[in-house]
């Protein structure tokens, strides 16, 4: 399953790109599992996802939790806690 991943703020800086299309291996069912898998993809990903507890995620532009199923997501975003306002 190909999913568009988007990264924002320091997650984007650490990964070194704003977005990419990724072929997610079968067996990865949740957002948390996806983060664990991403962390294994190389040094920059390991650095970005070394503390998944502080990273927030959104599926198709809606906030989700680590235990949320990926389901039929077309876009998943990872970012630090928000600091707007």
């Amino acid at each position: 399953m190909t999913i568009k991943l988007r990264y924002f703020a320091w997650v984007r800086e650490r990964v070194g790109k704003a977005e990419e299309d990724v072929e997610v291996p079968a067996g990865i069912a949740t957002v948390g599992e996806l983060m664990t898998w991403l962390a294994s993809r190389g040094e920059e990903y390991a650095h970005a996802f070394d503390n998944p507890k502080v990273i927030r995620a959104a599926i198709d532009k809606t906030h989700v939790k680590p235990q949320s199923p990926i389901g039929t997501a077309s876009e998943i975003a990872f970012f630090p806690p928000m600091t707007g306002g």
């Binding site: 924002f8 959104a58 928000m82 306002g85």
Partner: protein, 161 residues
């Protein structure tokens, strides 16, 4: 009901925007405006500017969700939310929330509710330019607490996360 949600790079005029909510009508008895302004310091250190990154599409959608909730919870006559992105220098306005109602209670409460949720749920990230480099602003736990107090009892667990 007048609802305006804008995400933009350009400056805005908060007074002009707020006035639109009470123009040409006589049922508005209360208008609350909050304007967030770029400070010249972050902590004890001076900053040259801040840059706001956002998630286009989701920022609008998330603000809209909370504006809809505010309209459901309070008897509002108008809501305006404008949030800038890009580079902003100290003294410039970053964002505004304006709420109009017949009476002040609803206008005050809805404006505060929207601000508390925008801080913790709208996908914006601030980076400040200090003398020794650019630093991402860290989220404050007190902002989560502020947002949590608006949750209905059955939603409290969700909001606290």
């Amino acid at each position: 009901m007048i609802t305006t949600i804008r995400i933009q790079r350009e400056p805005f005029d908060a007074a002009t925007e707020a006035k639109k909510l009470s123009a040409k009508r006589t049922d508005v008895g209360a208008l609350v405006t909050f304007t967030g302004i770029c400070r010249g310091n972050e902590g004890a250190e001076p900053i040259a500017a801040l840059t706001l990154e956002h998630y286009p599409g989701m920022a609008e959608a998330e603000i809209e969700r909370h504006v809809t909730e505010a309209i459901e919870r309070w008897p509002l006559l108008g809501v305006t939310v404008i949030h800038r992105h890009g580079r902003i220098v100290p003294g410039e306005d970053i964002m505004m929330v304006a709420t109009a109602s017949s009476h002040r209670e609803a206008a005050f409460a809805a404006a505060e509710f929207l601000m508390d949720y925008l801080k913790t749920r709208a996908p914006f990230w601030k980076q400040v330019e200090k003398a020794d480099g650019k630093i991402w602003v860290e989220a404050k736990a007190t902002d989560d607490v502020a947002a949590g107090r608006w949750a209905a009892p059955d939603k409290k667990h969700q909001a606290a996360e």
